[in-house]
Symmetry: C2
Subunit: 422 residues, 2 copies
């Protein structure tokens, strides 16, 4: 992933520096952009010390082994120029590269630098290892308008999502010009990343909506055990894995003939905040729960038999020749065989946002998925589920976003360079 050109950026932009320095006390001699991971003595492949390079062919945080914690944020860009937007993306990339290596967002760090200026990092991750942090940046449909001269650059695949049956979207949880997905095995590290990137954006972009997630609901590598969602079932058993490189190339990465060349090597992210009415679910019989999912609650085996990773047999029938796996079950409707072979890479997280006025936990699934083309992947799949899935009785889609996730930045460059410079 590090076969990219040498760095040419030299730190935060003057704008970013002025923003951080408040009244304008700017330190001289900021460090150069670091090479990904080079200063992280503890870099290793697993555990709290896990560290993933920010720069590379693809952005990290897509096929990276799914970390346990999430902080996702969508931003509105302020009334700035194209050049200022490019500068913001440069500042974000500079800081993201540092933070994924376990360093502070700026070269001084949270506890040193000029005493009369605000620190260039907020400090709550000061003693923490990289914790597998990945920072993934995306561009929403609304970015592609006349403000930044991008109206002609919008990929056809970056559609406005249609209204799906049963959608109950809340305006304040929809859309965004930009998004950042921060994943880490330590929530404090993920929060630190979003906080510092928001701070760097001050005056240039502001938080529109955001979401913390505490338990991953998908595995993205074979080594990871299948986690459980808040329905209590294993989730993501059939998810594709990073090891399936041919499948990943076919289903996740945008190919060179797929649309504008600036997206080659990128992917499309769809985010859906799905409230689960868990109190109602919890009052249904075990039989009904398993029928709705199409798998057993314990080991997660398909109701046609076997163990977790046994392929479901949708033709198998039981008493009165009824199919063992119901036609309206989630496993049947989400299966590629019900969707013309379409599938997608899932990276969801459980969430609980306190409780509502009726004393019900405000809980659910923050569904994130990556794909080569949402027109042939998320959209038909979600239409199929929204119309037919027996699980809908217990779900309500309240938040939504779609983002073009450009390819990774070359070492020392910035995410989106392919969009602005070609």
């Amino acid at each position: 992933m590090n076969d990219a050109p040498a760095p040419d950026r030299r730190g935060l932009s003057r704008r970013g520096l002025f923003g951080l320095a408040g009244a304008g006390v700017v330190g001289a001699g900021l460090g150069t952009g670091i090479t990904a991971g080079a200063h992280n003595a503890n870099a290793s492949a697993s555990g709290a010390a896990a560290s993933y390079p920010f720069f590379g062919t693809h952005q990290a945080g897509i096929v990276t082994p799914a970390q346990d914690r999430l902080h996702f944020a969508a931003f509105d860009v302020s009334d700035i120029t194209r050049e200022e937007l490019i500068e913001l993306l440069g500042d974000w990339s500079y800081a993201a590269n540092r933070m994924t290596a376990g360093l502070g967002a700026g070269s001084y760090g949270p506890a040193s630098g000029p005493y009369d200026a605000p620190p260039d990092d907020t400090g709550e991750a000061l003693d923490l290892p990289p914790s597998g942090l990945t920072i993934t940046i995306g561009f929403g449909p609304s970015l592609f308008d006349d403000r930044f001269g991008l109206a002609g650059k919008r990929p056809d695949a970056l559609i406005d999502l249609p209204h799906f049956p049963g959608d109950a979207l809340i305006d304040t949880l929809v859309g965004g010009d930009l998004c950042i997905q921060a994943c880490s095995d330590d929530p404090q590290v993920a929060v630190h990343a979003i906080r510092n990137l928001s701070r760097i954006a001050f005056g240039r972009a502001s938080l529109r909506w955001s979401q913390l997630g505490f338990g991953r609901t998908s595995s993205t590598t074979r080594a990871q055990a299948t986690p459980r969602n808040l329905f209590g079932f294993k989730d993501g058993t059939a998810n594709m894995r990073a090891e399936d490189t041919a499948e990943i190339s076919k289903q996740v990465w945008v190919g060179s003939g797929d649309g504008p060349s600036w997206m080659t090597g990128g992917s499309y992210l769809v985010a859906r905040k799905i409230r689960m009415t868990i109190e109602t679910w919890d009052r249904t019989a075990l039989r009904e729960q398993e029928t709705v999912v199409g798998r057993t609650k314990g080991v997660g085996a398909p109701l046609s038999g076997g163990t977790e990773f046994t392929a479901p047999d949708f033709a198998a029938t039981g008493r009165a020749d009824e199919p063992l796996i119901s036609d309206s079950s989630h496993v049947k409707l989400a299966h590629p065989s019900s969707n013309g072979g379409a599938t997608l890479l899932r990276r969801g997280y459980n969430f609980v946002d306190g409780n509502d006025d009726l004393g019900r936990l405000n809980a659910g699934l923050f569904f994130l998925c990556f794909q080569r083309d949402p027109r042939t992947q998320f959209v038909p799949l979600q239409l199929n589920l929204a119309k037919n899935d027996a699980m809908n009785e217990y779900l309500r889609h309240v938040g939504s976003g779609i983002f073009a996730v450009p390819p990774g930045a070359a070492n020392g460059s910035y995410v989106g360079a392919s969009l602005f410079e070609t």
Copy 2:
């Protein structure tokens, strides 16, 4: 901690069972109450397998090594009888004992039992170890009224908290007849506990307010490194530790002469949801931040010199004979020497609840503290801070609760037995 009488409870109450079984399909032959930890083959002193007994002289979750994650919930009791309230506390204690041992909330578990009944556990923690789960139950002032014949049992120390200068409490984040503090090193385990206890309470008590916390802001044992709050500073350096048994006895546990005997061995919990205006804080100079806190941001040394655990020297002066540690600094005002020797045991957590309409992270500190008598500990200390602390400029207290935390339950008994049965 296990020198208590043998268990005499035999599982969930009929009410609890009917609640779980929905239409009334009740399984026969529920298991007996288990001995704390006895069925947990992986019990050990640290890591994900750490397991703390629910039954014992004191409730767990007070001097227990502070776990990394929190789910706190306050409940309103419904229109039920005294006997039904006792049954609820029995059902909670039965389930809490099981869950802290890594078992399901009920004896069937999430994936077995009668197929036509709802499972007696929701399942999302099915494959997870105990993860150091503790469940701590408290009684709010409003419980002590005529509904349950408790009006004469209210301890004098269980005061209504006064209004503190600068309080900006939100009605929906205040009070509660009952509270449960669930701490664990895995957020999914903490959430599972609150969810299942809420479920068991269905029709008897309902969630009033609740809070997730993701990063502990105190250490409670010497082995734990000092964590950082969202101001980026080490927090809880001067916190008392479980090893300080004489200090814990003096400051945390209610003594036999302190008030009603049912509270002997218990403690008083004060919870405060404190919003931090981190965006404003982040724009202040490092010098100002350190002056406000009274410590350095890096190692957390007092501004009078030394390292993190050096005692602050409030008499030390510098240029123009000004004290090196400001009189309005947090470390000075919170120090026992400024509060007639009063101190308390802190167990706070960082939180981020999305963002507000202005694009600011809704972030802060969920402050939890335990003490022998809030009238001489939290109240004067908070009055002192609320009036004088330079940090107030960056804080807003939005939620508040006070709870009497009874002593631990004897094996097989229930939390609160000392209140109802003496």
